[in-house]
């Protein structure tokens, strides 16, 4: 190990351990995913430092770039406020978990402490034709059968997932043309070509429950949501307009109190 590699390891390894604790502690699923991504990138950097650049980069492209991204895709749909509940479903689950984890920790640390690594040999020969080429030669000659089998198994899994989730279409697909034709055909029965009018916008009022006015000044009933109409919660356009007239009167009386009398007579 060169000193640079040492420094890299001792900076990165504690950070990775800290962040992987975040995996246990974080409440939100997306935070867990971010911790996971950080640990994966840390691994990739360590692989590259150990002269396995192909493995390191592929780790990021495949696991971080594709697999974690798919996970995140699903997690995001849970929403920003969702966090997992801490209610125990099995009684005493937490304590059993702690005891088992401690046992596993003891066994692992015992094994790791006892292991003595022999000095690494053969790295220079393995990487003499550059790392990707050396790897390709091993995979495509010594382990070609295993590679092909894994490939076939993966493709089978992907295709079977497609087959299992495939639904045959029961009715013909309704495209843009079919929808337009149906709209025209429905015209004699009182259908319409255009979308429904939006609710009305007035000087003082801009809400879902006020109908819009058509060019003749009559309120359009359909411009208010059907739900509000059925509940009887829509406001009358006349109320809104009267309120605005009243406002005009009030402001005019405030502005010029003397000349207000003839104005009111006019109205």
């Amino acid at each position: 190990m060169s000193p640079g590699e040492d420094v890299l390891f001792w900076v990165l390894a504690p950070l990775m351990v800290l962040v992987s604790f975040g995996l246990l502690v974080a409440r939100k699923a997306v935070h867990v995913a971010i911790c996971m991504v950080f640990v994966m990138i840390g691994f990739a950097v360590l692989y590259i430092a150990l002269e396995a650049p192909f493995l390191g980069v592929v780790q990021i492209v495949v696991y971080t770039g594709a697999v974690m991204m798919l996970f995140l895709f699903v997690l995001m749909l849970v929403g920003v406020d969702a966090s997992s509940s801490l209610v125990e479903t099995i009684r005493g689950q937490r304590w059993i978990g702690v005891i088992l984890a401690l046992g596993l920790g003891v066994i692992l640390s015992g094994v790791v402490v006892q292991t003595v690594f022999p000095p690494a040999v053969g790295l220079a020969e393995a990487n003499s034709v550059t790392n990707p080429v050396g790897l390709a030669r091993v995979l495509m000659s010594d382990y070609v059968l295993a590679m092909e089998v894994v490939g076939i198994v993966l493709i089978t899994a992907a295709v079977s997932a497609l087959v299992l989730t495939h639904k045959r279409r029961l009715t013909p697909a309704r495209g843009q043309k079919e929808i337009a034709d149906a709209k025209v055909a429905a015209l004699p029965q009182g259908g319409r070509l255009t979308p429904l009018a939006a609710p009305g916008v007035y000087a003082q009022n801009n809400a879902m429950d006020t109908p819009a006015l058509d060019p003749q000044g009559r309120p359009i009933a359909e411009s208010v949501s059907r739900v509000l109409r059925i509940r009887g919660q829509q406001r009358e356009a006349t109320d809104v307009l009267l309120g605005e007239h009243g406002l005009v009167e009030r402001t005019s009386t405030v502005a010029e109190p003397e000349g207000s009398a003839p104005d009111e007579e006019e109205r």
Partner: protein, 450 residues
């Protein structure tokens, strides 16, 4: 740092970094960042001017000569604006996301070769015009691009708002599907060049740039690079008409500026990658490369060719934006999965078979190229002139029996479709009757009135 300085002559890369030390790397890295930031300022101005030209208006022309300082003024404005953090946001991730986007965008240029060995003026110190290179450099570029998407995805999620979330979900799907096509098209270049190191790939394009023999892969790459950078016609994650501005709706001030910066740096990145992998990198175009025994392929000249090619691709980005409309989301996904990926995959198999033939059957390169060219032309001709079984019957049946024309189909007056004939008009029949006999005509008219 030390890993690279200690292994100077890395096998599998063409550039020689043996003279470089830590200071060289530092200077190169700073130069690259300065280059990227100024390029972004110029790219914004360039895009606005060119799009304006295409839309017959002047574009920014007030600040500085030709309006060149406009983007600087905009950057200052963004810096000084109020920085808003929305209440529903996940504060940490909200801040982290734009950083991820910019950081990953800056990484790509580490392995892009601007030129071959250059000698620093007034010294005899020579170094490659490239920060670093290693045997899997192009995969590293793909890795950085796929990490950069996390910025967009997390930014949209952490805003705690509907439109940004929709934008980021779209961008996830978009990137996953378009990166496949992009990766497959790059693999064909790896197969032909026999390497994934950028300097080696440029080295392999001495006689022929890969975009010619690998034209389908180049086309797929260009389409998917526009998708990858979320540019029109593929800017669905930030579609203004549908999602306000997608994943960056809730961002303001400097955080927004970071996303903006990342988008433009990514445009420059993918253009540089296309230049390096398909357009010969820093190599001079053909007639120039022959002048004076390859004078233009040495020293500082190649940086000019590299920049010219890169800006040509950036111009294409702007041109596409000025020409095409945004696609609908389902059409976009169909294009990615049903056209681009199968084409890229099929082309990859073809190239692999061809390269295998060349290597194992020991065919001469020239005969191979001629034979494959002839085969390609014959194939295209056969496909072109093949009688189309599915299309022909339709017009024939239309010609044979003209359909009954209903002038009031569904109760509305309609024009005849091709192949249908208007029935003689009732008024015309009356005119004919009038001409045939005046006395009769008077009678009939009276009858009509009666």
């Amino acid at each position: 740092m030390s890993i690279f300085t200690e292994t100077p002559g890395v096998p599998g890369i063409a550039a020689d970094f043996s003279q470089d030390n830590g200071w060289t790397y530092l200077v190169k890295a700073v130069l690259i960042i300065v280059f990227l930031l100024t390029s972004v300022l110029i790219a914004i101005w360039f895009e606005r001017r060119v799009v304006a030209r295409m839309q017959l208006r002047p574009g920014p022309n007030v600040h500085g000569p030709l309006g060149l300082l406009q983007s600087l003024a905009d950057a200052m404005k963004l810096l000084l604006k109020e920085d808003i953090t929305v209440k529903a946001a996940d504060k940490f991730v909200y801040l982290l996301a734009p950083m991820i986007a910019v950081f990953c965008a800056l990484l790509t240029f580490a392995v892009i070769p601007f030129g071959p060995e250059v000698t620093i003026p007034f010294t005899d110190y020579s170094t490659p015009a490239q920060l670093t290179d290693f045997p899997v450099a192009v995969l590293y570029i793909l890795a950085c691009a796929s990490l950069g998407v996390y910025g967009i995805v997390l930014g949209g999620w952490s805003s705690g708002s509907t439109y940004p979330l929709l934008g980021s979900v779209r961008s996830t799907a978009q990137v996953i599907s378009y990166e496949l096509a992009m990766g497959l098209s790059l693999v064909t270049v790896f197969i032909m060049a026999g390497s994934m190191s950028t300097s080696q790939i440029v080295d392999s394009q001495q006689s022929l740039w890969w975009f010619l023999p690998l034209l389908p892969a180049f086309v797929v790459y260009v389409i998917s690079m526009i998708g990858e950078t979320n540019r029109l016609p593929f800017d669905l994650p930030e579609a203004e008409g549908e999602l306000v501005s997608g994943f960056m709706t809730e961002y303001s001030s400097m955080k927004f500026a970071w996303f903006f910066l990342a988008e433009y740096i990514n445009m420059i990145n993918v253009s540089a990658v296309a230049t390096t992998l398909f357009l010969g990198g820093w190599r001079a175009p053909w007639p120039l490369s022959a002048i004076n025994d390859g004078m233009f392929n040495e020293g500082w000249w190649p940086i000019l060719w590299f920049l010219v090619k890169m800006w040509a691709l950036l111009f294409m980005f702007v041109w596409v934006r000025g020409t095409l409309l945004r696609m609908r989301y389902d059409q976009f996904m169909k294009l990615g999965w049903k056209i681009l990926i199968p084409v890229a995959l099929g082309w990859l198999v073809l190239v692999a078979v061809a390269q295998g033939l060349r290597q194992f059957a020991d065919v001469d390169t020239q005969t191979f190229l001629v034979v494959s060219g002839v085969v390609a032309i014959v194939l295209v001709a056969v496909i072109w002139f093949w009688p189309d079984a599915s299309k022909k019957p339709e017009p024939e049946t239309g010609d044979d029996e003209p359909e009954e024309f209903d002038a009031f189909a569904d109760g509305f007056p309609v024009p005849p479709l091709p192949g249908q004939k208007l029935p003689p008009s009732a008024r015309r029949r009356r005119v004919v009757a009038a001409e045939s006999g005046a006395a009769h005509a008077v009678d009939t008219e009276e009858e009509n009135r009666g």
